[in-house]
Symmetry: C2
Subunit: 213 residues, 2 copies
């Protein structure tokens, strides 16, 4: 059985929920385009993002019939989907796919653990600096001249849910970094990074690039 023959494409509009927590999981998928978030919610509504999905990231887990978090499209999303049970058969017949999936899971685990350090121990300013540094690292792959313009695909509220803050604190910290000349906003969704070294100093991480994820 060949994966190519099993794939279908599905699209979701910005704001759509792709998967609900606890819902039977009928497909696994690969992100083709867009941005999606994984989030968990407490009974009183407090929510925490536990992952960010970008193109090439994988959704779903062979062997699991449901997931423990909601998956939501933050901008328009296109997925390349495979029927879950069929996919599982292919995995069993093709050992190196299991290894590849394990490596993806371990990468996610490393990223999750970096995020645990951020959530548990970093100040608001360090959280924002770390977040921006992460965006810069990813954006640089596409456009790497000295003062790259970076696009925010998330609202302040979504950033707050990612960093374990409130949207007001996120806004205040952006303003503070701007006042300190580290970043500059073109508009609310686009900013430029003016001083990467200073930003790194604000992340709280080791001077050498200790953070990998």
């Amino acid at each position: 059985m060949i994966l190519e023959s099993m794939k279908t494409y599905r699209s979701f509009a910005a704001g759509d929920v792709i998967l609900w927590r606890g819902e039977p999981l009928e497909f696994v998928a690969s992100m083709v385009s867009g941005v999606a978030t994984l989030s968990k919610t407490l009974e009183d509504g407090r929510t925490q993002m536990v992952g960010l999905l970008l193109p090439s990231d994988f959704i779903g887990r062979p062997g699991r019939t449901e997931i423990e978090f909601d998956v939501t499209a933050t901008v328009d999303v296109t997925l390349c989907c495979f029927d879950r049970t069929k996919f599982e058969k292919v995995v069993q017949e093709t050992p190196h796919i299991a290894q590849r999936l394990m490596e993806l899971a371990l990468d996610e685990l490393d990223a999750a653990r970096d995020w645990m350090l951020l959530l548990g121990r970093k100040t608001a300013r360090e959280k924002i600096a770390t977040f921006i540094e992460m965006l810069a690292r990813r954006s640089n792959l596409q456009a790497s001249f000295d003062a790259p313009e970076i696009k925010l695909n998330l609202t302040r509220d979504q950033i707050a849910n990612y960093l374990g803050l409130t949207l007001e604190t996120v806004s205040r910290q952006f303003s503070a970094l701007k006042k300190d000349g580290i970043i500059d906003f073109a508009d609310r969704k686009h900013f430029t990074l003016k001083d990467l070294a200073a930003l790194r100093d604000e992340t709280g991480d080791d001077a050498d690039g200790g953070v990998v994820a």
Copy 2:
């Protein structure tokens, strides 16, 4: 090649560091006895535990030559070790081991994401309640009569590093739960759970046992 023929046992005393972050990884291992912690540290010394290893848990990752966190024995630990490169060969020759390891990684990932919710959004009291509930769930497997005595293998400081709190706050929350009649301390390392339902109400999680970890 058979795994049985490759194993060696190694022991570590309470407090010993089993693996340093960044150190070349020469073996993978399975916990035989004891408790070990995974932790990450910021440049100024703030630390955050990112995992807890109990008997049967796995250490190390095929395909990685180093790890991103320190592994420390909190009580005496015995490991069953396998040479990393030899183990990797066995994994490649034995497909279902890769699948099993992937499932372990996914379990850890689920646990990490529950912990992200705790670190990012729960109050000190909710963190402590969640922590105790987790201990109770694990202890119940061994001794399941109505008011089980639970042993704390961690110091207040280690609990604080696990929960993203200070040791003083941990101590205060334990005292508060005792004052409210939810737990009762025999001594500083042993307590009994007097009101599981009340404890669950304090975790902030859904009423149905939504948390799986």
